[in-house]
Each structure stands twice: as C-alpha cells, then as structure tokens.
C-alpha cells in the first residue's frame, strides 16, 4: 500500500484568505510524522481536508489509499482524530462521550479504555461542561487511543496538558507506533516533536518549507560561530553563506549556512584563530528560522529529503553538538509567537 497520507500541491481558500497555497505532505506507514508551522499557517486546515470536512480547491490528497472527500465515511473506519480545540456535548459525562465516539467509529478496546483512563487520571463521571481544557483534550485522546485505529490524526493534542500528562501522552504514542500504526502529530511543542517524530514537515503560509528527519533539517540551516582571531577579521563578509556579521573588539560573531561552514572556518584559520566557539542551530533556532522571515536561500525548494546528500558531510561534524541541544530539557517551550 502507498503511504497513508499523501498530499500534493494542495490549495484551499476561504474567501480572500489563501489558507493552503500548494502544500505537500507525506506520512509513511508506521511513522510518527510531526506537522509544524506558525499560527494560522494551515495545519488545521490541512487536517480538515484530510478528514473530508473541507473540499480542497486544487491539488491531490490521498488518505489510506482513498479520496478523503468522496470516501470519507469508509476511510474513517481506520482513523481516529483529536481536534485542536476539543468541544464536547456539555450535558454528557466524559465516559459517555468516549463511548459515543467509540461506538460511532465501530467499537473500542475496553481494556485500553480502562488503561487510558487510569494513565491520564481522568474522572469519567464528570459532566463535559465542568472539564478544564486539558481534561476535555484527555477525553478526546482517550477516545482516539482506545480505538486502535491504523491512523491517528492529532491536532495539537497536548496544548492543554500539564508536563506529566504530556509524558503519559508520549508513552502512549510510542506504544501506538510500536504496534505499527501511523500518527500525524501537529504540535508547537518542540521537545515533544523531537522526542516522538521520525520525520517532520514544516509549513509556512500554507506551503511546505521543509520536510525530512530532524537531522536532515539541521543541515539546511545556519550555524552560529563566535571567534577571536589574531588579525582583524576582514573579508569575512565576502565568504559564501556568511550573514549577520558582528564585530566587538577583536571578537567576531556570525551565522553561516551549515553547508558552507567549512569555507568560513578555513577563512578564519587563515587569520589565525585564538578561540573558536561554534554551535549548530538549537531546535528553537531551527524552527524560528523556518517560521520567520530569515529563510535560508535554499528554503522553499524543500521537497522531502531534497538536500540530504550534499549535507551528509556536515552532518558528522555537528552531530555531537546537535544531540546535546536536542536533549536540553529547557526546550519544552512553544514558539507560538514566531519571529517578530
């Protein structure tokens, strides 16, 4: 079978808003695919097209081998969905909502339901209107995870969960993945994406800017270099890939496209290096670069895996540092604001 989610050149407008502007997305069977982008970039819109709730204006969307618009009801047997903003029926208890959604989908796994209620510490007897945002989200998560569906489509499923519950969520997603199911995970929480996702797609203003593994993406961005040199660091501005040059008495700070790092370091060494600090982009920098206006010049061409060959060499050099950056627990921070 083809990949469970294939989206090509998708377009969707709401009146004058061009919400999707040639979006590409591909999630392979059995992977957890991160779906990232600033607010209003079109993540929820893409998901709603995949669910057959919105009809695309142009482009191709294939869900589990079928047409999400035409075959919605039959395809939905195999998927479970958690909306970004969970609204429940105020008069029903959480347990009732879970059962209702489960039955409408065609049954749920009773043992799992019980396990999930326990793990998420959810009181199923409370009326939906009395649940907090996080608890409403848990209700939708329990309903989705108890379904044992082949494909989970989750729209910012943890944005109301506390860190402990976010941890429980991660454990369950790993379990679902181990069972061979596919997960599309839209999220603003980078640590979560890093911890869970095999591959990510970053979108911006309705179009995909990057897609690939996190390691792939790192090579497509800039490295920060801080150096002190014997001779004044002139001529650096002329080196390919160098930007944001700043000089403060003998010290020079600049950004360099990771694939041109070699050239920049060679130039510095010709000036006589006294000290050199370089660090690969932290995850946050990575996303801020993609979300913000400072796009590297090769961004936008970002077809899945496009540049991975040429950046292979760089990968080794910055590998150690990048792992460190990724493991930094302080990174559990949203980037909702994007770059001003």
């Amino acid at each position: 079978m083809d990949a469970p989610i294939v989206v090509e050149q998708l377009h969707k407008s709401f009146g004058s808003t061009h919400a999707l502007d040639g979006l590409d997305l591909r999630a392979e069977q059995g992977e957890v695919h991160g779906f990232l982008g600033p607010n209003g970039s079109g993540k929820s819109t893409t998901i709603r097209v995949l669910l057959g709730l919105l009809r695309p204006d142009a482009g191709r969307a294939v869900l589990l081998g079928g047409d999400p618009w035409r075959d919605a009801a039959t395809l939905h047997r195999h998927l479970a969905y958690v909306p970004g903003d969970v609204a429940l029926w105020p008069g029903l208890s959480g347990g009732e909502v879970i059962d209702l959604i489960g039955r409408l989908r065609g049954g749920l796994d009773e043992t799992r339901r019980a396990e999930l209620l326990r793990d998420f510490e959810l009181d199923a007897t409370k009326k939906s209107r009395t649940y907090s945002k996080g608890n409403r989200q848990k209700v939708a998560l329990v309903a989705a995870l108890a379904s044992r569906a082949d494909l989970l489509i989750l729209d910012e499923p943890t944005n109301g969960l506390d860190p402990l519950m976010a941890e429980v969520f991660q454990t369950w997603i790993r379990r679902v993945k181990d069972e061979g199911h596919t997960v599309l995970l839209s999220s603003h929480i980078l640590a979560e994406v890093e911890a869970l996702c095999d591959r990510v797609s970053i979108i911006r203003a309705g179009a995909t800017v990057q897609s690939g593994t996190l390691a792939d993406l790192r090579h497509l961005t800039t490295t920060t270099v801080i150096a002190e040199t014997v001779r004044p660091a002139d001529g650096l501005a002329g080196v390919t890939g160098v930007s944001d040059l700043e000089r403060t008495d003998g010290r020079v700070t600049f950004q360099v496209d990771t694939k041109h790092l070699d050239g920049a370091v060679a130039h510095l060494s010709s000036l006589g290096i006294r000290s050199l600090i370089s660090h690969p982009p932290t995850l946050e920098e990575l996303f801020l670069t993609q979300y913000g206006d400072r796009l590297p010049e090769h961004a936008g061409s970002g077809q899945p895996g496009a540049d991975s060959d040429q950046s292979g060499a760089v990968s080794d050099r910055s590998g150690a540092d990048s792992d460190q950056a990724g493991a930094d627990p302080g990174q559990q921070r949203g980037v909702e604001g994007g770059r001003p």
Binding site: G52, L54, A80, R105, A140
Partner: protein, 528 residues
C-alpha cells in the same frame, strides 16, 4: 463602581455585533405594526361603524384573549390599538428576550465573557451593557411606534403613551431574561424560561381580561395595557413595569455576584461513567441533547392549548346570551366556534414551528461548536448525521403538535362537558404537520446550502404569522397569502380537510429535505 468598568466599550461592541439583528428586529416590529395600524385608518370613520366594531369584539372572548382589554373602542385610536396589541407587545417582548440572551448567557456559554472579563472589564459590565443596548432598543421601538401612530393622524398623547408602554414592556422582559440568564448555564434554557414567563404573563392577562378579574394585574402585559391609551390615559400603571425592571435587575446583579463565570447557580451533578445503549447512534445523541427542551415545549404548548381551548365554549355561551350577534357576524354559532378554534390553532402551530426551526438549527450550533466534526470524523456519513438529527426533530415536532392539540381538545371537553369536538380539534391541529414540515425543510435546506443565511427562516416564519393573523386587516392579496403553507392548509374544523394540499406540502417538504442533504454533501463543514 469598578464593577462597571468597560461597559461603554462593551456597548459599542454589542452594537457592532448587532448591526444586522437590531435593525431587523426594530424595522420588523415597527414596520408590521405601523402597516397594521395604517390599514385600520379609514375603516371606522363613523360612530356607527365604531359601535359595530366594539359590539363585535367586546363580546368575543377570543379577540379579548388575543388582543387585550376592549377599551376606548369608540375612538379610532382605541380600535387601532386593539388591532396592533398582540403584534406589538409580543414583538417587543421577544426582541428583548432574544437580544438579552444573546449578549449575556450565550456569550458566556461560548466562553467569550471569560476573555472579556480577564481584560479590564468589571464583573457587572456585560450585564450592564446588555441592559443598556436592549433597553435602548426597546425605547427606540416605543418612540418609533409613537411617531408612526402620530404620523397616521392619531392623537399625540395617546400615541406617546402607547409607545412608552411598549418600551416599558421591552425593558421588563430584558430584566426577566437577565435573571433567567443567571439561573441557568445554557442560553437555550434561559431563552425557554423567559419565553415561558411571557407565555404565562399573556395567559394571566387573557384570563383576567376575559373574566374581567384582577388577574390582569398579575401580568406585566396587563400593566402596560392598563394605561388605556386614547381612552382614560393614565401614566401611573407604567410605574409597575419600571419598578419591576429595577427590582429584577438588582436580583440579577446579586446573582452575578454569587456565582462563577460560566457556571449556573445550581452546581452540576456527576454523570454516568459509561454511556447507555441510547448513546450509540446519531439519533440517540440528538434525542439525548433535546429531550429536556422537547419536554418543556410539549408541556408549555399543552398548557397554552388548555388556556386558549377553554375559551371556545365561551363563544357558545355568549351567542346564547346574545343571539342577534350571531346574525350580525353572519353565520351560525357553530361556525363562530369553529372559526375561533381555527384562529387559535393557527397561532399555536406557528409556535410549534418555532420549536421545529430551533431544533433544526441545532445542526448549525453543533457545527459551529465543532462538535459535528467529532462525529463526522467517525464512520458516520454526512447524510446520516444530518438525517439522524432531523429525524429526532420530526418525531419531536409530531409530539409537540399532538401535545398542543390534546391541550386544546381536553380544555374544550372539560369546559363544554362533551367530547364531541375532541377528534375534530386533534385532527385540525395535526393537519398543519405538512406545513410545519415545509418550514422545517426550509430551515434544513438553508443549513445545507448557506448556513450563514439560517436566520432567513425566522423571517419567513414571521411572514407566515403576518399573512395568517393580519392578512385580512392588511388586505394582503390571496396569492401572496397562499405563499404561506399555513394559509394553504385548511382551517379545520370550519373548512374541511384537503388531502391534495397535505400531499403537495409533504412532497415539497421532502424536496427541501433532499436539497438539504445534497447541499450539505457539497459544502465545507465548520464554516457555519
């Protein structure tokens, strides 16, 4: 008064949000009332004609029950008032109720009040702003009514008095609704409670006026009609609604102080941990969501049926006392009774249609609240979701219609002591089902194709009321009247059942339903 900070900003916000609603209500009410009033002018030019009119309605409990106390009927102004009372008073009250709910509980239920209050808004600002906007709208309606009556050449003092009384009525119901909005967590329930208060107020006034008892004074509608515009003209009864409005506002403020944002006064109880068998399908869900409102509508309309059904026999009694009246009105006694029932049944089924429309429009609120997508992301096809809800609407409509018919028939049986008309009255009510189905079908088709235009169906329903209740007065041409499915339906028991019409209307309703399904299949979900 830090509790009122930000009221001004909120008032501006509400006015902007209401830029369609407010003009629609105001122009609608004033337009219909002014048109009716203008139709009366020139009809009763001589004292003899006015005496004839007075003799007719003074002896008609039905007319008094519907319109108000017969007073100053020897003047054109008095006759005008008698003709426009129902429309004006119910219009103003409903406007006040709907707009107040819209800006208090509905906002809070949607969570927007929370956002506002987290800003620089005082605790009482939302309530105060709602009262200002709705009170202002009521005053404006009163003023415009006064101006249009004066414009028609009626005495200015009486016109002003009538306009003020309608404004006061609006203010009272604004305050009633403000209290109801504090008592419950749901906009719908607040709406239901307030409309029920209006229904009870109207029934008390009807009973009081028909039986000439003091019961009238227990009703805000009775108070504002007690000013006797164009007659004795007294202003003091208006102190009652004003004082009541102030008192109720104080109660609402006190209740606001005592509860949390978003909560009602009654703490919620826990529910079951597992769903019953009922909650396994869309109809089950729809029924669960609507069962309490279904119950209230049935009970309310059953009681309304009882109240208005009990007057039928008085028509007979009156004719026995006054045989020449029957001749004057042309037609025998039985025809008059049948005519009375035809008229009240028409009004009652129009109210049933309001239930149907609001039930159909739950599709839209499910969609707007993003609950529809939870269901549509399961293996439920769109048509099943839609038809599942509409099926419950259909069954509910039949139940509410039957409750209404049974209410009327039971009251008539009790009062007249014979069950002779029981079956007839029930059949007469049920005969309107195809007409109601057409309106429900229209609501569904609008939801299917253009959810943003859903409001239109209420305009159509108001049109059905106008041609049904004011058609004669406004001399609306037959062809236009027959655009209303309620007008096409024979007014049994006076007229006889017309199966052809019933069949055509049913087919039309079916077509509208098919159109609804077709439209909903083609459009985006969640853009409502």
């Amino acid at each position: 008064m830090s509790g009122l900070i930000g009221t001004g900003q909120l008032v501006r916000l509400f006015l902007r949000l209401d830029r369609v609603h407010l003009p629609l209500w105001i122009v609608g009410i004033v337009g219909i009332v002014a048109a009716s009033a203008s139709a009366v002018q020139g009809l009763y030019t001589t004292p003899e004609l006015r005496a004839g009119y007075a003799a007719t309605v003074t002896n008609s409990p039905a007319a008094i029950a519907m319109s108000g106390p017969p007073q100053a009927l020897d003047t054109v102004g008095g006759i005008t008032l008698f003709e426009i009372n129902l429309t004006a008073a119910v219009g103003v009250s409903l406007m006040a109720i709907f707009l107040t709910v819209r800006h208090t509980r509905a906002e809070e239920e949607a969570g927007r009040t929370e956002l506002l209050r987290a800003g620089v808004l005082g605790r009482h600002a939302p309530l105060a702003a709602a009262l200002i906007v709705v009170g202002g709208a009521s005053l404006l309606v009163g003023l415009l009514l006064a101006a249009s009556l004066t414009g028609l050449g009626l005495p200015a003092s009486g016109s002003m008095l009538f306009g003020s009384s309608m404004a006061c009525l609006g203010v009272v119901f604004c305050a009633v609704t403000a209290v109801a909005a504090q008592l419950t967590e749901h906009a719908r329930a607040a709406l239901g409670m307030s409309v029920a208060v209006l229904g009870v107020a109207w029934a008390l006034r009807s009973l009081g006026d028909v039986r000439e008892s003091a019961l009238t004074w227990a009703s805000p509608v009775g108070w504002v009609q007690a000013v006797h515009a164009f007659g004795a003209e007294r202003w003091w009864p208006l102190l009652l609604p004003v004082a009541t409005a102030v008192g109720l506002t104080a109660v609402a403020v006190e209740l606001t102080r005592r509860r949390d944002v978003g909560a009602g006064l009654v703490p919620p109880r826990p529910g079951p941990a597992r769903a019953s068998h009922l909650l396994s399908s869309v109809p089950g869900l729809a029924l669960r969501q609507q069962r309490s409102s279904l119950l209230w509508w049935s009970v309310g309309l059953f009681l309304a049926g009882l109240a208005f059904g009990s007057f039928g026999e008085e028509v007979t009694t009156m004719l026995e006392d006054n045989p020449e009246l029957g001749e004057l009105l042309g037609g025998g006694g039985d025809d008059l009774v049948a005519g009375y029932f035809g008229l009240i049944l028409l009004i009652l089924v129009l109210i049933v249609a309001c239930f149907t429309v609001s039930s159909v429009q739950r599709l839209r609120s499910e969609e707007a609240a993003a609950r529809a997508e939870l269901v549509l992301a399961t293996r439920t096809p769109r048509a099943s979701w839609q038809l599942g809800w509409l099926g419950v609407t259909a069954v509910g409509t039949v139940l509410v219609t039957l409750a209404t018919g049974v209410g009327v028939a039971v009251a008539d049986t009790l009062v007249s002591g014979s069950a002779e008309r029981f079956g007839e009255l029930l059949a007469a009510t049920a005969a309107y089902l195809p007409a109601i189905a057409v309106i429900g079908g229209l609501a569904a088709a609008l939801h299917g194709w253009a959810p943003r235009l859903s409001l239109l169906v209420w305009v159509v329903l108001a049109g059905c009321f106008v041609v049904g209740w004011l058609g004669d007065l406004l001399e609306i041409p037959e062809a236009v009247r027959n655009l209303s499915p309620f007008n096409l339906t024979p007014r049994m028991p006076l007229e006889s059942m017309d199966w052809g019409v019933a069949l055509s209307l049913s087919v039309l309703a079916g077509l509208l339903l098919a159109l609804a399904v077709l439209g909903f299949r083609r459009r985006d979900v969640g853009v409502a």
